[in-house]
Amino acid sequence: MANSIVAAQRHTPSPGRPASGNPAGGSTQHLGWVPIALGAAAVVAGLGGRKQGATALALAAVAGAGAMGAMRGMQSGSRKQGAASGREEVERSITIGKSADELRRTWLDPRTLPQAMARFATVRPGGEGRMHWKVEGPLGHAYEWDAETVDRPGGGIGWRSLPGAAIPNEGSVRFQPAPAGRGTVVTLHVRFDPPGGALGEGLLKLLGSTPLDLVADAALRRFKNLVETGEIPTTVRQPAARADTH
């Protein structure tokens, strides 16, 4: 779970390692910009100085006996890292109770990606099937690129950054029927190919410590929320006796 874009180059996640302590350790070094990681970090950090084992056990209390097994890669998907290049690649799947046709239409609707990616990036339509991506970094840095949409075999949808992007990247989503009318399995694939050397290292730092698999999970989950219910669950701006209310 600690496979952040930056940290993954120095840290190989061990499959049996409890994840509950680790996102905190990784993301608190880049406080304040990726809410996905931050939510976990703030809460885990809020446990206040307990040893990591105790924290993991305490977190397990919330959910029970599956806790340890849960951290051993039972989620649907995989993550690869190019040994030499620092390439980051992730593939995740989710089952959604809608037809492939409806999902494909919704994915291509220019209003969808901005909502699905809202916790990670600002995405806006750029005309001619292009999308403009912007990721806010620490200290006011931002990383932006344009991507074009490309068709993929079998009805999938692909996109890739246009030439000149500082960190070339590409992604795709494909739709396969789930068994017995259970809807459609949606698989998201994302790859970042940073250039070598100090430049690539620096640019990756701009992207921060975003755990790419968390980004993919969140995007798929939010897409599912949107197509199944018409909205994405939220707790922002709700009542709480503190400044940050969600």
Partner: protein, 390 residues
């Protein structure tokens, strides 16, 4: 508005917070009429369940009147008097369509906090019950936001008082589901560990579903009295007998109860060395749960019987898997699928077959919330449930 919030372990406070607002088109805002304490709140108040943040408004069992609805709310409207199950459900995902409501796929805003604990999966969100369960603001407040109002607000029929409707939010559906899990057949004996709100509701539900005998187990005389009076249960005070197992075996002609319901959970009290073992390990955070009630329920149950677990658990030591397996038992468990039972529960309430208002032994203004929880936690003055009226 005023609200009761968690400020730290064993530190509840009342303060002024901003009013809730419609955030999504299927939301409603409810003016809370009544809300109540739940034993499961004590787990995070006592610090056994993490992912609370100082300032979180708590409370997940409540009823009230709809004040405002979002643009996509069709079925309920302003002015409706409604009860709301504690789990927030979308009504449209695969789980909702299979009546597994507390497993709804679409109401958890913070799945990354819970997925590592549940094999990469999530439950539905709950009001006022930790960020691992969604981080929604709770209902011990003047107002609460109810997402997916058409699926989660149930109109209370005229003739069902607020005090009765209140407990259809959580205690009654949880107990009812626990009895439903037991697949009760004519002649069956059902034993229920715990005579708090959920345990008493489970006992009454078992009766409604045709159990021949119901046996309630607890240590508080006033709760055992309620079990006898309201559920027609026989009772066992476990502090007054050498062995609950032997008593149950004798009471059931040597067979053991056909079904055993655990309505206690991770902070069980007991007697003897096993209880001492759990107390020490829990205090040292070497295990999160004291599980004596659950272990006893497994050991007591007849061969081929059903174990129905309603108590909330984390990680438990010394789970007697061998007894469960070799006795060929069926274990069923869930957080409450309240939406699946609400029509039946409201019908029972309307016919006077289920009147849980007697659980409300103590009533407080919201301002006295911390005192209410203190009385409830320490079971002072025979407190079964503290009820708050904003």
């Amino acid at each position: 508005m005023r609200a009761l919030y968690w400020n730290g372990v064993n530190d509840l406070r009342v303060g002024t917070v901003k009013d809730p607002e419609i955030l999504n088109p299927r939301d409603a805002i409810l003016r809370v009429s009544l809300s109540t304490t739940c034993g499961s709140d004590l787990h995070f108040i006592d610090g056994y369940i993490p992912t609370m943040k100082a300032g979180d408004v708590i409370g997940h069992e409540f009823m009230g009147v709809i004040e405002e609805v979002g643009s996509e709310v069709k079925r309920v409207k302003k002015g409706d008097r409604v009860v709301v199950p504690s789990f927030i459900v979308c009504g449209q995902c695969w789980y909702c369509q299979h009546s597994l409501y507390s497993l709804c796929d679409n109401t958890h805003p913070k799945p990354e906090l819970q997925e590592p604990l549940l094999g990469g999966q999530t439950t539905a969100g709950i009001y006022g019950y930790t960020h691992a369960f969604g981080g929604y603001a709770g209902a011990h407040a003047e107002y609460v936001r109810v997402p997916f109002a058409d699926n989660d607000c149930f109109k209370v029929p005229d003739g069902v008082a607020d005090e009765n409707a209140l407990f259809l939010s959580d205690a009654a559906p949880t107990g009812y589901m626990g009895a439903d899990f037991c697949n009760i057949q004519p002649g069956d004996t059902v034993a229920v560990w715990g005579c708090g709100g959920v345990g008493l509701m489970a006992q009454q539900s078992a009766r409604l579903m045709g159990a021949e005998r119901v046996i309630g187990i607890d240590r508080f005389p006033e709760r055992l009295q309620m079990a006898r009076e309201h559920a027609g249960s026989e009772t066992i005070d476990y502090t007054q007998v050498d062995s609950v197992l032997e008593v149950l075996k004798e009471m059931t002609g040597g067979r053991g109860p056909d079904a055993c319901i655990d309505a206690v959970g991770m902070e069980a009290h007991g007697t003897g060395p096993q209880y001492a073992y759990d107390l020490v390990k829990q205090a040292l955070r070497l295990e999160t749960d004291r599980g004596q009630a659950l272990r006893e329920a497994i050991m007591a149950c007849r061969k081929g019987g059903t174990l129905s677990v309603l108590g909330v658990y984390g990680v438990l030591d010394k789970f007697p898997m061998g007894a469960l397996m070799n006795k060929g038992m069926t274990m069923r468990t869930a957080q409450q699928h309240g939406q699946a039972y609400m029509d039946r529960l409201l019908a029972h309430a309307q016919k006077g077959e289920l009147s849980p208002a007697y659980l409300a032994t103590h009533r407080f203004s919201l301002e006295d919330g911390p005192r209410g929880y203190d009385m409830f936690k320490h079971k002072k003055d025979g407190c079964v449930r503290a009820v708050f009226a904003p």
